[in-house]
Symmetry: C2
Subunit: 433 residues, 2 copies
């Protein structure tokens, strides 16, 4: 019987052939919901898509024209696996804004910083190795860690980011258990999804603890330049060049459509990253790299970042004031930068089982369970204010408030919703990034 004859269910003739790691690769039910949530009538507070409407498209179009006409034989050709050298020189300058001293030879350009995450995990993780990460953590990183069969152990955050005492306790326990901890994965600035920033005081503490336990630090910093009120804090990498792999990205400070990110790593690690990247993609896109280089060369990119900060601050304000007005029974942090509010639902509500009802009410969010490796998070949701206009944000929160009210009514009648949880988002989707 062929798959056509079975009508609907397609059998997988290669089911027995997959690698062990592939069995965990399943599309979660959340993905199907987000396919619905991408319809225009739904207000999506789910996605991490940056607002790029403010970019000067006429100027950028002319920039692309000139790149192809004047440098086409370079832009359209294969390039170096490590990345285009003039771009790596620029990246060194960008990182200097966060106190990092690096050489262009330390930089590896990647297809978005997501690829850098994948490469670092690939060269360090054997199945069963432990990665320590904040609770909660970026869904896309958890997807990569799961794909490489790592075990993730979460460490608590508070309003000042990762709690050093908790980190120390966790590393001590794992050491006593004989586990191999390969690295600490951390988003120190404007955390995704937590919204908090690791305080200046705690930065050397975290580094000191990791150094004592021989644990590498993987510093993922897509939002560092997007603070609303203050200059960026010094990067962890600026305090420990040999102990930290730093990941950066142009997706949030310029545009994600070029897929250009980077890693900066200690010398020997950098060499392996280049080899792993060549194996994965041969080389990053020259066309994209020359575009970013020309943008940094000829445009007021720091002025553009300032505009983004103002736009995102306005949207953050819209979301926070709408939440205060319409969902006062929930609690949340007020982020100083980045894209996300991490909201704790009123007692008894379940973020996972509420999602279909929210989508029916034409508002989408990401349930907190997506951001944990271990099924926690059913009491939280992530709300993004980066993409919708302030008016749409307000409308989205209004719809969400209606859903929350209905859920609370149901809880009053039938008791707390124990459903959901556990079934986390196995792999990142661009919708969720």
């Amino acid at each position: 019987m062929t798959s056509a004859e079975t009508g609907g269910t397609r059998l997988d003739p290669w089911l027995e052939s997959y690698a062990a790691r592939a069995h965990a690769m399943r599309a979660s039910e959340i993905r199907a919901l987000f396919a619905v949530a991408s319809r225009p009538e739904v207000v999506s507070l789910a996605g991490g898509m940056p607002y790029i409407g403010g970019l000067p498209l006429e100027e950028l179009g002319e920039m692309m024209r000139r790149i192809v006409v004047e440098q086409g034989e370079v832009a359209l050709q294969y390039g170096s696996g490590q990345g285009y050298e003039p771009l790596r020189e620029h990246i060194v300058q960008v990182m200097a804004l966060e106190g990092i001293t690096a050489h262009p030879d330390d930089v590896v350009v990647t297809t978005g910083s997501q690829q850098a995450l994948d490469l670092v995990t690939k060269i360090f993780i054997d199945p069963g190795d432990v990665i320590v990460a904040e609770a909660p953590s970026y869904v896309g990183a958890l997807g990569v860690f799961r794909a490489h069969e790592a075990d993730v152990v979460h460490v608590a955050m508070d309003a000042d980011g990762l709690v050093p005492a908790e980190l120390e306790r966790t590393l001590a326990r794992l050491k006593a258990e004989g586990r191999r901890v390969k690295f600490l994965y951390t988003v120190p600035n404007f955390h995704n999804p937590g919204g908090v920033t690791l305080s200046l005081e705690r930065r050397p503490q975290v580094l000191g603890i990791c150094e004592r336990y021989g644990v590498l630090v993987l510093e993922d910093n897509p939002y560092g330049l997007l603070g609303f009120d203050s200059d960026p804090l010094p990067a962890l990498r600026s305090m420990s060049p040999e102990g930290v792999i730093y990941l950066g990205s142009f997706s949030k400070t310029f545009a994600p459509g070029f897929r250009v990110g980077w890693a900066v790593a200690p010398h020997a690690v950098r060499e392996k990253l280049v080899l792993a990247s060549e194996s994965a993609i041969l080389c990053p896109s020259h066309a994209s790299q020359l575009a970013i280089t020309a943008y940094l060369d000829h445009h007021d990119w720091q002025g553009q970042i300032k505009k983004f900060r103002e736009q995102y601050r306005e949207r953050r304000d819209a979301m926070v004031s709408a939440l205060e007005e319409m969902i006062p029974e929930a609690s949340w942090n007020v982020p100083d930068g980045g894209f996300y509010v991490w909201l704790k639902l009123p007692e008894g509500l379940n973020s996972k089982s509420m999602l279909p009802r929210a989508v029916t009410a034409r508002v989408a969010y990401v349930p907190g369970t997506a951001f944990y490796f271990d099924g926690q998070g059913a009491d939280h949701i992530r709300l993004s204010y980066c993409y919708p206009t302030p008016e749409r944000i307000r409308e989205g929160v209004r719809r969400l408030a209606g859903v929350v009210d209905q859920e609370l009514e149901t809880v009053r009648i039938f008791g707390a919703d124990a459903g959901g949880g556990g079934d986390t988002v196995e792999f990142p989707s661009p919708d969720l990034a």
Copy 2:
């Protein structure tokens, strides 16, 4: 003592932390040689860089300008992990030229077909699994297979490509040994580096053998439309939609700088490929995908391929006639398409140990050892005619002839060179692709 104090040798503080797979990631000595070989005074017959000088850069520049100005909010944004749908529709049309019937939903767009190779290997290969591949095979595929700790077993080719009887014998032996063979990796058209094409007659034979042994076929076809004399043969995928994963690329038929390739796979496999790709890079570059889409929409891309075919044929002729004239003591195939001549050196010469002397004589090639998993190939070299002009090709062959003459003289005096071999190129470099 810090690494600076050791002067030169940098210690790797993370040496104990690497995954098992990373220990094989070492830069080969050949890479260092190619850094020298990229100097302009060296005629490189090594690289697989396509000739893109013939592209209409003014038109393409204007095309890029319009994409950014008119579709910037899409082109510069994140996209779907599976790829931009209008591009997937075009890809279906491109594949129809080789007899393939597919649906856009079967297509996964990747960062060059190299990424597709990586993703397929990732979802199928557990350490120690066997991949059967032609002898020789594409260096970049061998690098991916090694990175995923596969074992590669080579099967002989002749002038009509992979030899079915050898394939059957090999699969029977591996089955008897209890080995898990996951797939056959094959480049059926204008093989890299072999230059040969799998005959029409053999195609169903190869598929039948693989089906009997339950072995998936991975058909890698970057050169299929670049035949000099005839229309493309039907793809293996056209004869066995459920038994073949097909990989295609725009790098050789248009331009590699956008890094756009694709995979077409049976439905369930396709789903896992999308998840694996999202984990690796979130999504392929929208800017690149819209560029390819506009190119296919508005340009005479088939006319451009015809021009490429004529240019490459002229270069092939230049190389073959120079070889006949200047290195008659070697033997080689005359390829009907693609980029490569696979040359057998005169008795007693070693392609690996000859390379430094060739680079000194300002000509570069890739030693045959790069194309085997098991140290074979010291008696062969791969010569590329895709990038240099006919005049430069002739000059390169002249220099190579001088080196071969010197080597033969040395062999006459001191006996055959037993050096080299074994130390294969661990990872693909864009220079070698």
